[in-house]
């Protein structure tokens, strides 16, 4: 399988503070990789570097074999991002927001793309609603539609189902599984929901203090650490005073 994301020994320092301490990993085509770790472990910084919002202190990032540093625009055309901490303009209707972002990503068949996403994400009846007046679940699906408007090859997800009720959360997870299968995209998923990670991810990276402290398939990590589920593994690793501390 081809690697769509290749991260080679990236470091990020804020002054003397080392936020990310030289991590490397790959995400294959048609793979969902989980990025786990306690708050402050470096997950958001890592995602920020992959999005070109942060400049690594050292190391290299390749997306679809293109070096991010030299091909920022070309790479941003093929990736997208969703996070509960960023929103779409609240005063615009859902349709206006999707139209604007379709233009920013130079989508060719905008009408068809919006219709396709509206049907898949069940937001058809919300198209003329004001974005700021939607419920959390509705906003989440609209943000997901925005993140897929450019048919990304790489999707970065930061807590995609945080604050969603179980029904909507399950809908989003099922949608992501199906969409990944259909389009063969790569997904990097940062989440604190261990059930979600176990369900969606082929493999996971455990981060702590800016380092990868363990990685592997969820079932292998559970067996390796002698636990019954991924949450217990997470707690064990995040509470341990490892050699990395």
């Amino acid at each position: 399988m081809k690697n769509l994301i290749e991260v080679q020994n990236i470091k990020k320092n804020y002054g003397k503070k080392e936020a990310v301490k030289g991590i490397s990993f790959n995400v294959e085509e048609d793979e969902i990789l989980g990025l786990l770790g306690p708050n402050g472990s470096g997950k958001t910084t890592t995602i920020g570097m992959l999005l070109g919002l942060l400049k690594p202190t050292s190391g290299q990032i390749f997306i679809n074999n293109l070096k991010l540093e030299e091909n920022r625009i070309q790479i941003l055309e093929m990736i997208n991002f969703i996070s509960p901490y960023i929103e779409l303009p609240k005063k615009l209707t859902v349709k206006q927001n999707l139209y604007v972002y379709s233009k920013l990503y130079k989508v060719v068949n905008i009408k068809e793309r919006i219709e396709y996403l509206s049907e898949k994400l069940r937001i058809g009846e919300l198209l003329n609603s004001i974005t700021g007046e939607l419920s959390s679940g509705q906003k989440n699906r609209v943000s997901l539609a925005k993140a897929l408007v450019n048919e990304p090859k790489v999707l970065l997800l930061d807590e995609p189902t945080a604050s969603l009720d179980p029904e909507v959360g399950d809908f989003v997870r099922t949608f992501l599984e199906d969409y990944k299968k259909e389009k063969k995209i790569s997904i990097l998923l940062a989440s604190h929901n261990m059930n979600e990670v176990t369900r969606l991810c082929k493999s996971v990276l455990m981060m702590k203090n800016g380092e990868i402290i363990d990685q592997g398939k969820p079932e292998d990590l559970i067996a390796k650490h002698g636990r019954t589920n991924l949450e217990e593994v997470f707690l064990k690793l995040s509470r341990s005073k490892s050699e990395f501390n």
Partner: protein
């Protein structure tokens, strides 16, 4: 440069303005009030001072020009701040937009915002005060162009500060024009300023613009040097602001401001 992306970002702000009646009202209301107020003051001075008695509307014309500058500058800042307030900043900067495309789109949108406010205000001056800004003739275009460039320049400088320092720089956004206004010699000749302030004023394009507006209206003559100096200083500050914006963008990527903006 992609026209599609520039148009896309323009649409984002166009939709925002057209969806909200209070926003349109806000754009039109302040310039109209400002111009009306200065119109009455202008009328009073025109009949009670010797300096202005042969040039009715000098103050009003300068008030219109200043308001255009103010609206352009604030308009540009507002467009940038809107992205921060709506927590859309990250979405914008992860879209495949070049810095030049973002700036071009905001520059066009800021002009349209300013004109929405300015045109009704200018139309008011004729029936209310019998004054037409068109009395400035063909040079009106150059004066407006200079003011527009300087307004945009200030907007870009403030946006650079927002990029570099985050939302805490917002208060500066509102005060920039007030800081520079005394040096601009908007309502008075440069000789009114103390000598040291005059030195500062001479390195700003504003003084040349407003001196020339008064020169045309009072002396009925044109000093092409003023137009030239205004454009020259504008070119200098505009280039500086663009360079600073790129520098701030790179510094923000280094410091992490882009990822935390709006939080």
């Amino acid at each position: 440069m992609s026209l599609t992306r520039i148009y896309g970002l323009f649409l984002r702000h166009f939709y925002l303005i057209t969806r909200s009646f209070p926003r349109i009202l806000d754009l039109v209301y302040w310039p109209s009030i400002q111009i009306t107020l200065w119109g009455f003051i202008s009328n009073f001075f025109a009949t009670h001072t010797t300096y202005y008695n042969n040039a009715v509307g000098v103050i009003l014309t300068c008030a219109i020009l200043y308001d255009f500058l103010f609206r352009t500058s604030i308009g540009f800042n507002m467009l940038f701040l809107e992205e921060i307030w709506s927590r859309n900043f990250t979405n914008l900067f992860i879209a495949p937009m070049r810095i030049g495309e973002i700036l071009t789109s905001l520059v066009i949108t800021a002009l349209i915002r300013s004109l929405i406010g300015l045109v009704p205000a200018i139309l008011l001056t004729s029936p209310l005060f019998g004054i037409s800004i068109l009395d400035l003739g063909i040079f009106l275009f150059f004066l407006f162009l200079s003011l527009y460039i300087f307004g945009i320049t200030l907007g870009i400088l403030v946006s650079s500060g927002l990029l570099r320092f985050g939302p805490s720089f917002e208060n500066i956004a509102w005060s920039t024009m007030f800081l520079l206004a005394p040096f601009g010699c908007i309502y008075y000749p440069i000789e009114t300023l103390p000598e040291i302030f005059q030195k500062v004023a001479y390195v700003l394009p504003l003084v040349y613009i407003f001196e020339e507006a008064r020169n045309i209206l009072i002396n009925q003559s044109v000093n092409i040097e003023n137009v030239y100096y205004a454009l020259m200083w504008n070119a200098f500050y505009f280039s500086l602001s663009i360079a600073l914006f790129y520098y701030s963008f790179n510094a923000a990527k280094d410091k992490g401001t882009l990822i935390n903006m709006g939080e």
